[in-house]
């Protein structure tokens, strides 16, 4: 029986009789997908618009209100082979989109103004050595002013605003020297034009804004894109809750539509999406996502259920105390606040550079003016030379040095399956010299797997899988999946909390607790060898078999640990789980430093100790109990399967089963940081060459324009090298070979 799905929460009205919904879609990555989806959805009656956005991996749909149920779209997409889910734009994302558009508008205005001013400047430059009349030159200067002044007033807004904010807060950022440089260059040019002077710098000022806006736009676009993908992933988790509407009628609604005070049904095998209190029913709960503890806890009326808990055996009625994002233990929330405050003190490379840069540039300009006056030049000439110094040092290449590298590197990370949550994560990740792993769900996979599949006869395995399909128990689900079972055994009956019973060819078959199947004797032999595993027994008549089920290590975990050590990074495991379980994992991976039974506060304490010792720690964890330590660490990563809160706190999120993205992230960040520094040196080196020329008063608008575009292009080209990292290419080769070797040996067995 399936309760009705209610997506009305996501539907918006866009006009008379027209409804609109946005869906996040998984696996759209080519033109083929695009037209397949658009055709497939347009073919539904009453659909008026179906448009795929390939950049954001979303579909926008509009249809005539009335007959069509939005869940039809999801089903239709499932038929086409795509997983989709409705999606609600967070207000933060709307603000990012608006900001991106604004920057693009500014960039457009600045770029068109630059092109037109250049068209007037080039005749002036060539006319200065040829036959241009002074009146014509003045006319061209006035025309340039007509274009450049309004354009700079509009396109300079992002810089002026940010500089004003920084000055008001008593600080200096990169936008302060930019704004001063642009404003001074423009005012000086106007005065020079009034005085019929030979040189005006309208072209330099507006070109500077154009280049800088390119860097700003790239930066912003990358941030918008990561945020959109992260929001899709959250939507595709499709967290729903079964809510009681009236009496015993239930409806499956998205978590976003659940309010505190609602009563929801939590069936066996479901993961709770809300915090609440049990009002009816008893069951076992797997809280490993919250506490790291792999032993199950018993829940009955009055006990608390936290979002992320997996219900193992019975059905529960839960009264919601807090829905989705508001969830959590007060203790964890408090630790999290403190830890986040500590981290905001990190200063980005660009800010550090501008803190040094601005005073040096302004002092140089001032000294130039004073120097020329001392040498007997007029105040007018001295100030013109001083402003020329400001124009030539205006941090054009410096403004591009970091955003371009960041854009290219985040693209490379994206392809390697890593999403950035924080803008400065790349810089912090590059400094890491110590990695702390959580065990449950991070080093191990969140799903259960059957570890002794090779010891069970194939025919028995298939039969057990069929029987397992009739059970909601997660351990049974693991057996069913491992067996690849498709159709359940006809007539199988589940005995809650015990197992499944059925009949085949007149012989009784049972799957469930070892005591249920009379297989306690087998458990004794196995329990000693694998303390962490759960057991499920299968019996056919008198034949008895035992399946060992446990969370397996991620396939490449050992390789990743070795690669980290090779890079001079120390590895450590801190887990909330039992000692035996942690020891087993640490031994398998070759990690010497590990601690078990660690509380969230202990984890933070350990990170603080490392910090005081001067280590920069990367925390990799997924549980709710890891969230505070993720925030406390220098930088943090979470797998995509992590609890809501951890994912929101982590600086980076990685996708898929392998742990390799941890290495990719470190390698690409190190390369990116190297290139950022190189770019800063290139930009500064250019200044070292150009500034003496400016101080001596030889700079013409032509030289300023050539120097500015030349240095910007060099910096951008250098940034493209962040696409690949040598260390990482080596690691990827080794990982591929290992995976091939593994699949070969598995084939032999």
């Amino acid at each position: 029986m399936q309760a009705t799905r209610d997506f009305s929460h996501y539907v918006t009205s866009v006009g008379p009789g027209l409804a609109h919904i946005d869906l996040a879609v998984e696996g759209v990555n080519c033109a083929g997908c695009m037209s397949k989806i658009e055709r497939g959805l347009s073919a539904l009656p009453d659909v008026t618009l179906a448009r795929v956005n390939l950049t954001d991996r979303r579909v926008a749909l509009e249809w005539k209100e009335g007959a069509l149920d939005p869940s039809r779209f999801i089903d239709r997409l499932a038929e086409l082979g795509y997983k989709a889910y409705p999606f609600e734009k967070a207000s933060a994302e709307n603000a990012e989109v608006e900001q991106t558009r604004f920057l693009l508008r500014c960039l457009g205005v600045a770029a068109f103004a630059t092109m037109n001013v250049m068209m007037l400047s080039i005749p002036v430059w060539s006319g200065n050595v040829g036959d241009m009349l002074p009146e014509q030159r003045d006319f061209f200067h006035w025309l340039s002013a007509l274009i450049a002044l309004p354009a700079a007033a509009y396109a300079g807004q992002p810089f002026f605003r940010s500089a004003f904010r920084a000055l008001k807060a008593g600080g200096v950022n990169m936008d302060v020297p930019i704004s001063i440089g642009v404003i001074l260059a423009l005012s000086m040019s106007v005065i020079e034009t009034i005085n019929h002077a030979e040189h005006a710098y309208f072209d330099a000022a507006i070109m500077l804004l154009t280049f800088l806006l390119v860097g700003r736009y790239l930066d912003q676009n990358m941030r918008r894109r990561t945020r959109a993908v992260a929001a899709n992933l959250a939507a595709l988790k499709a967290e729903t809750a079964t809510k009681f509407v009236h009496g015993d009628d239930v409806s499956v609604v998205p978590v976003a539509a659940i309010a505190p005070g609602d009563v929801v049904l939590l069936r066996a095998g479901e993961r709770s999406a809300v915090d609440g209190t049990v009002i009816e029913g008893t069951s076992q709960l797997d809280q490993s996502l919250i506490t790291g503890e792999t032993l199950h806890a018993t829940a009955g009326p009055g006990s608390a259920v936290y979002a992320g808990s997996l219900n193992i055996s019975g059905s529960l009625r839960v009264r919601v105390s807090a829905a989705s994002e508001a969830t959590l233990l007060a203790e964890i929330a408090r630790l999290l606040d403190n830890a986040l405050q500590a981290r905001s003190r990190y200063m980005r490379l660009a800010d550090r550079a501008s803190r040094l840069y601005a005073p040096v540039v302004h002092v140089t300009a001032l000294l130039t003016v004073l120097g020329w006056v001392l040498f007997g030049a007029s105040w007018h000439d001295a100030i013109v030379t001083g402003v020329a110094v400001l124009i030539i040092t205006c941090p054009c290449a410096l403004g591009l040095a970091i955003p371009t590298v960041q854009t290219v590197a985040s693209g490379a990370l994206f392809r390697a399956g890593v999403l950035l949550n924080a803008g400065d994560a790349i810089e912090r990740l590059a400094e890491v010299d110590h990695v702390i792993f959580d065990k449950t769900g991070t080093l191990t996979l969140p799903e259960l797997e059957v570890t002794n599949a090779a010891e069970i006869p194939v025919e028995i395995f298939a039969l057990a899988g069929q029987l397992a399909l009739s059970s909601h128990h997660p351990v049974a689900a693991a057996v069913a999946q491992a067996a690849g079972a498709k159709s359940p055994l006809v007539g199988a009956v589940e005995e809650p909390g015990q197992g499944v019973r059925g009949e085949i060819g007149g012989v009784e078959v049972m799957l469930g607790k070892p005591s249920f199947c009379g297989a306690e004797r087998l458990v004794k032999d196995c329990a000693d060898s694998d303390p962490e595993a759960s057991f499920v027994a299968f019996s056919r008549g008198e034949d008895k078999y035992l399946f060992t089920v446990r969370q397996g290590l991620r396939p490449d975990a050992k390789l990743v640990v070795a690669a980290l050590k090779e890079r001079g990074i120390e590895v450590e495991i801190l887990s909330g789980d039992r000692e035996a379980a942690v020891r087993a994992a640490a031994d398998a991976l070759g990690v010497d430093a590990w601690r078990a039974g660690v509380t969230p506060a202990d984890k933070i304490a350990r990170i603080e100790t490392l910090k005081r010792a001067g280590f920069k720690a990367l925390m990799v964890g997924d549980g709710m109990n890891d969230a505070p330590s993720l925030a406390a660490a220098h930088v943090s990563m979470s797998p995509i399967s992590a609890a809501h809160l951890s994912q929101a706190t982590a600086d980076l999120v990685f996708l898929g089963k392998p742990l390799a993205p941890v290495i990719s992230a470190i390698d690409f960040s190190r390369k990116a940081r190297h290139l950022m520094r190189q770019n800063l040196y290139l930009a500064i080196g250019y200044n070292m060459l150009a500034v003496p020329i400016a101080i001596l008063g030889f700079v013409t608008p032509l030289i300023a324009a050539a120097a500015m575009s030349g240095s910007s292009i060099i910096v951008m080209l250098n940034a493209l090298r962040a696409r690949s990292a040598d260390d990482h290419a080596r690691f990827a080769r080794a990982a591929r070979q290992a995976a091939e070797a593994q699949s070969l040996s598995f084939g032999d067995a």
Partner: protein, 62 residues
């Protein structure tokens, strides 16, 4: 040099026209999905834009 009287306003107008076109394209959402636009250009044909129920206009080849 009298030709400047015509050329300069012409150049300015062309520049403004280009800017206006850019702002229009931005406003009509043409930069929302650059990846998709790249593919749509080489896709065989677009899915029919006509509302459902009406037959698309017949296209005669050549």
């Amino acid at each position: 040099m009298e030709v400047l009287v015509i050329l300069v306003p012409l150049a300015l107008c062309l520049g403004l026209a280009g800017l206006a076109a850019f702002l229009w394209s931005l406003k009509s959402g043409q930069y929302e999905d650059l990846d998709g636009a790249a593919w749509r250009a080489i896709a065989d044909d677009d899915p029919p834009d006509v509302p459902n129920g009406e037959a698309p206009h017949p296209v005669t080849p050549g």
